[in-house]
């Protein structure tokens, strides 16, 4: 405490600068999530008083299940966006894998476990292909995944000719989307498990740290010895995997594989959840708790507005306004804390 007068930040002077940066990062992360948590609590209290159906076990469990699909996609999307990338093919890849798993299991009568493995591997493979085109051919992520969006949509419609698959989806498959473990629906458990997994992956592994550092400053990361191309490749593999997982759970949830399900609309909801949760499209910033809170907030809002008997058109308007507000608030926070945390 000797240098009290010279540094101007006396209390922290004994902490090395890297750890100080990390501490400020954590504080602002908590702040962002706190505001969102507070918004969720206020909205929930309001809805509990204003509607009779909101604060019931049945409804709250419904909300959790409703956000599980959005969340699964938002996790993969979030990880890609943290590297400063973009994957807009996720919705259509989910639809394609949703059809694939139904086709394998219900029509070709492939064993359940094998069907699941092939379907998830398909998503992973498509993601890796996206990653290869982006990282090794240098195609911008938006363009590469836009192309993949068209390709996967085309394949889905070519093979299904627009027909849904619903016969032969037996209860052991439907369990993934409709079953319960204790009081919790299976999709909710999958969602929670994936959030925990992704959180530890990003914060406690070297690869996770590389993902943040590429998003923060790609050249700096390269100079410090990060294999940027390889990390990107893996990241898109991850988003492809999460798109596939979303597709599988979606088909099991709906009890029917719909070729037109989960298009751009659905993908954009997941992207909205990620952005509301503090993920920055410019890369380097984002965390799993924020994404979960973002999805939860959107889910409660959607549920609450219906319970308040407000029309779907109006729900879009509210979502749009909230998105702008969230980003504006986020930006002011950032400039208040002096740039990128």
């Amino acid at each position: 405490m000797k240098e009290k007068t010279t540094t101007g930040i006396p209390e922290y002077s004994h902490i090395p600068p890297e750890r100080l940066v990390k501490r400020v990062k954590i504080i602002s992360k908590i702040q962002g999530n706190m505001i969102l948590s507070l918004a969720i609590i206020i909205l929930s209290i309001f809805l509990s008083f204003k509607t009779e159906g909101f604060f019931t076990t049945y409804n709250l469990i419904n909300v959790l299940r409703q956000i599980s699909l959005t969340s699964l996609m938002a996790i993969g999307f979030g990880i890609v966006v943290i590297t400063g990338g973009m994957d807009i093919s996720m919705g259509n890849v989910a639809a394609m894998v949703g059809m694939t798993v139904a086709g394998l299991f219900a029509i070709m009568k492939v064993n359940l476990f094998v069907s699941l493995v092939i379907s998830l591997a398909l998503g992973l493979g498509i993601g890796l292909l996206n990653g290869a085109v982006i990282a090794y051919l240098g195609v911008p992520p938006f363009i590469a995944t836009l192309a993949m969006m068209f390709i996967s949509q085309g394949i889905t419609f070519e093979f299904t000719q627009g027909y849904p698959i619903y016969e032969g989806l037996t209860s052991n498959f439907l369990y993934i989307g409709q079953g319960y473990i204790g009081p919790l629906p299976v999709p909710v458990i999958i969602m929670i498990a994936m959030f925990i997994l992704a959180h530890f992956f990003l914060n406690n592994t070297v690869l996770g740290q590389h993902i943040y550092s590429i998003g923060g400053n790609e050249n700096a990361a390269r100079v410090t010895g990060v294999n940027v191309s390889r990390v990107k490749l893996i990241t898109y593999g991850i988003s492809g995997f999460f798109a596939a997982l979303t597709g599988v759970v979606m088909t099991a949830r709906l009890g029917s594989a719909q070729p037109a399900a989960a298009g751009m609309d659905f993908f954009l909801t997941a992207a909205t959840a990620a952005v509301l949760g503090g993920t920055e499209l410019s890369g380097g910033v984002g965390n799993m708790l924020g994404i979960l809170l973002g999805a939860l907030f959107l889910g409660i809002l959607n549920n609450g507005l219906t319970l308040l008997k407000i029309s779907a058109y109006f729900q879009w308007i509210v979502t749009g306004i909230l998105l702008i507000l969230a980003i504006v608030w986020h930006t002011t926070q950032k400039s208040a804390s002096g740039g990128k945390y």
Binding site: T51, N59, Y163, Q258
Partner: protein, 308 residues
């Protein structure tokens, strides 16, 4: 690696092209172009099947089918391509009744007959128009609901007001319900697209504790409501009515547990009739300016007859 991938992509593209460019090449045939407005919907898949199978049975008829995904601009360019390729007739179920007017006018100018399918464009000249009357669809559903409720009850309506055909179904429903003052529409909601239909069904059934029937303008929209109600055990007090009689809806009706009825539009006949009419037009035979494809109410009682 970069070079190899580039070569591979180019080769793939060439391969795809080789297989797609044989549509307009043959001469002396009756070339027909059908532009399907929505992909990924069973209804349109069946229209296409009806058209293709009918065309395949007729000698010298070559049918080219293109699809757009709810995109009037894309469909417009497809029609322009048909005109440029000088097809003998265009079959047009428009993605939008007003946005496709320029396409029809251009075809009129070039002397290519246009057969309207499902929905009529609001301008230009259609040589013939083949459709189910969507107002009739709504009226049949309304009559069934009113009869079953014995003229008294609360109902919820789920629609897609952004599309003319589905809007007309609600219009037809209301035409009938006007005569039953004790039947009350307690909510009219805008339907979402799957998978969000699931969440919407859960939320609406939570919001409205007591009602007697639900009508949605398409089976794909009615089905999730019925499934959620079944999970809640509310499928005894509420009955559900849809439109299109998709395979999934027919399976639901067969269960006889709340999915009461679906109004069938017979898309296969629609596609078949469109091709038959177009061929007649090209051969110079006389055709009706409007052919109505009849609609049928499918319930548990007549399910077996319908499936034949």
């Amino acid at each position: 690696m970069k070079k190899n991938l580039f070569i591979l992509l180019t080769a793939t593209l060439l391969f795809v092209f080789c297989f797609s460019f044989n549509a307009y090449s043959e001469e002396k045939k009756i070339a027909l172009g059908l532009a399907i407005p929505y992909i990924g919907q069973e209804f349109w898949a069946v229209v296409q099947k009806g058209a293709e199978e009918t065309a395949a049975k007729m000698p010298n008829v070559e049918l080219t089918v293109v699809q757009s995904h709810q995109s009037p601009t894309k469909q417009l360019s497809q029609i322009e391509a048909f005109i440029a390729a000088k097809v003998n007739a265009i079959l047009l179920p428009p993605a939008d009744p007003s946005a496709l007017v320029p396409a029809v006018e251009e075809a009129n100018k070039q002397g290519i007959p246009v057969i309207g399918v499902d929905t009529a464009v609001v301008g230009g000249k259609l040589t013939s128009f083949i459709a189910s009357n969507n107002i009739t669809v709504g009226e049949i559903a309304g009559k069934y609901i009113a009869d079953r409720l014995k003229g008294k009850g609360k109902i919820i309506v789920i629609g897609y007001p952004q599309h003319t055909a589905t809007r007309q179904r609600v219009e037809g429903l209301k035409n009938v319900l006007k005569n039953f003052p004790d039947i009350q529409i307690i909510a009219e909601e805008v339907g979402k697209l799957p998978p969000d239909t699931q969440a919407q069904a859960e939320n609406i059934l939570t919001a409205y504790k007591q009602f007697d029937a639900l009508f949605a303008v398409a089976d794909v929209l009615t089905l999730p409501f019925w499934k959620v109600a079944k999970d809640l055990g509310r499928n005894k007090e509420i009955f559900f009515v849809g439109v299109d009689a998709t395979g999934e809806a027919l399976a639901a009706i067969e269960e006889n547990s709340g999915y009461a009825a679906s109004v069938a539009q017979q898309p296969y006949q629609m596609g078949a009739l469109a091709v038959e009419t177009a061929v007649k037009v090209v051969k110079g035979e006389k055709v009706e300016s409007f052919t109505e494809v009849p609609v049928v109410l499918v319930t548990f009682d007549n399910l077996k007859d319908f499936k034949k």
